[in-house]
Symmetry: D3
Subunit: 143 residues, 6 copies
């Protein structure tokens, strides 16, 4: 196998998705303030989204495999730690990280980052892209 | 204006979308049966989707305008009768048509068809395409 | 070569695109009527679109090639007869078919159908799908 | 459960994909004829595609479930009978149906149709859409 | 509300679109030079595009709302300052910024950046992605 | 022509695609190790992909043209140096760069970068995005 790929930094991306209900609401604010800030997203009975999640992982290409990271393993880590806990769930009621954290796209992305960061070796930098709709999406950490 | 377009039947399509929570559940069945049939979609706390809705309308091209139908008007009819009632809602709890009808993609499509059919002149045939996810979608009426 | 594919009717689709300016306007109507009917699309200085064009061609699978039609040939016919005449053009000013025909999506689709129909052997049925935007598209002939 | 959905015919669609190598070649023709007909697709060392497969299934909505068909079951049938046999394979060398059948998009769609037709109850009509690329796709049976 | 999201920098993105006519032309050059440089894009009668515009805004997550920025407000700012002035317009003739500036994708992106930068508080960094077609797009400022 | 665009750094992107067969295999490893590492991608008869390739090029906007780079020229350089050599080919057997380099997405992206880097003036920074599937893609150089 050629040494060509040694020490080259490449980013690899894996796209997954989950479907969840949520409601944007801050219990420290009045009902009027919540409606003013969150509008339709404050609906007491929840609404939902097909969330598209892309995880970016940056590292060096391994000279033996030609991989930065085994994408099957990355997919499995996302599945076990994120999809199995978030997919077909109510984020406010079913996912403990959002018991006292408003499940905005920003906070969901930060939460996913922190969960995955703890499961992936620290030599890899990771970044989260979360699409709430085709027209609204977020990136964490920002650059 | 040319007579060229007179009496030609063309289908026009308008794509809209809404974000909603739902739960698949038949109260006439036991909890065990509901889980067996609906799996993750039976989650008591609901989950949600970005529904993509395409309405097809078939008719003759008007010789004066070159239009089958004013797409702004079609969009307004969809907005007033479907999006304003379904978007950012819990289909089971907030939309009266699903009080006793299971909000599967099939039943949502039939319901949207029936609502729009009553708002659009009968000389136009219509058809509903509803995407629950990129990989699961339905068409009503079937052909 | 197996006889398996003989006499099976398959539809094949080829997607192309072109970028054009247009204006919706009927000279037989007053300016006020034109604005009322066509709104922003009546802008005297034109606006434009990336048109996505899909041509469907239905026929029997040839037992020797396993093709309904040579897709390279279909692409070439579309290129020569449609793209070379419509792409990077002003439909109202540069394309003779629209000298006296309002270039609505409906009329563009009918025009493309008639041009291609005359270039393709009559044993093949064809159909045109024209996307003016991701959210507004038409099909001709309707079915 | 409402009777509303009884006897309504709805089409449901499931989208899957597989990645495969293939080569277009008819052993009954000369090498020159093969190159003339199939061009780059005749490359002796094969090339490949990400095939997008959509299966349409038409039937009546079941009044108890609100489903035409269990989409999880449809996905499993496609996975077991098509993906497990076609994905990450060389269609010409690894899939017995193409031992003597040229793996054009047309013939792959017909083959998938015949496999799935035998696995799904005859009261359901099915149809196959196969995308070889974003710009070339086929439908079988044609309508 | 948890303090968890305080001081985390997140980028949020909002996608909008507009349809416009334009022509690439530098009046300081000869007609021959203009054709040589701009090719089909120099057509005197204009052509057009569906421009997809994504605005990226980077900032800290607000601990009260869980938002970096109210996406409804961002959408309204884009609508009022860009879409209402560019959509269904001829960029060369109808938009004053391009009276003496060639409306290439690069210059349109820089212009949109400068307009929006002046409307959004300076503590937020912004970036513009402009798709002229699916295959040609630009980013400003570059990084 | 306005001086407005002088000295602004903009990134321009051009999207192309090619269809190729490949096999992931390291001859220095045992067959068992190859299957363990590369799984289905190790299939001895190859499989294939529709690769989507986006080339990013960063530079200053030219005050005369309003362009960073002539996109037609960029497309031609990609066509001549990448597509003509990779499209409808078997990467392992037909492309000399992969004679002793495993054609993972990472290594294909690095190879494309190095080829194009040598063809484009050094004052432009370039970056490669390569989609092996909609869900697996890579970026080189990483940032």
């Amino acid at each position: 196998m050629s040494e060509k790929s040694r020490m080259k930094k490449v980013s690899v991306f894996r796209k997954e998705h989950f479907n969840a209900a949520h409601r944007l609401h801050n219990p420290d604010l009045s009902d009027t303030e919540n409606v003013k800030i969150f509008g339709k997203c404050n609906n007491a009975n929840y609404h939902g989204h097909n969330y598209d999640l892309t995880v970016k992982l940056m590292g060096e290409v391994d000279a033996t495999t030609g991989y930065v990271y085994d994408m099957k393993l990355l997919s499995d880590i996302i599945k076990e730690n994120i999809l199995d806990r978030f997919d077909h769930k109510n984020l406010n009621l079913d996912v403990k990280e959002f018991e006292s954290l408003n499940p905005t796209a920003e906070n969901i992305a930060i939460t996913i980052y922190e969960i995955l960061k703890s499961k992936i070796e620290p030599r890899y930098e990771i970044k989260i892209f979360l699409y709430e709709t085709e027209r609204n999406f977020v990136e964490y950490p920002a650059d």
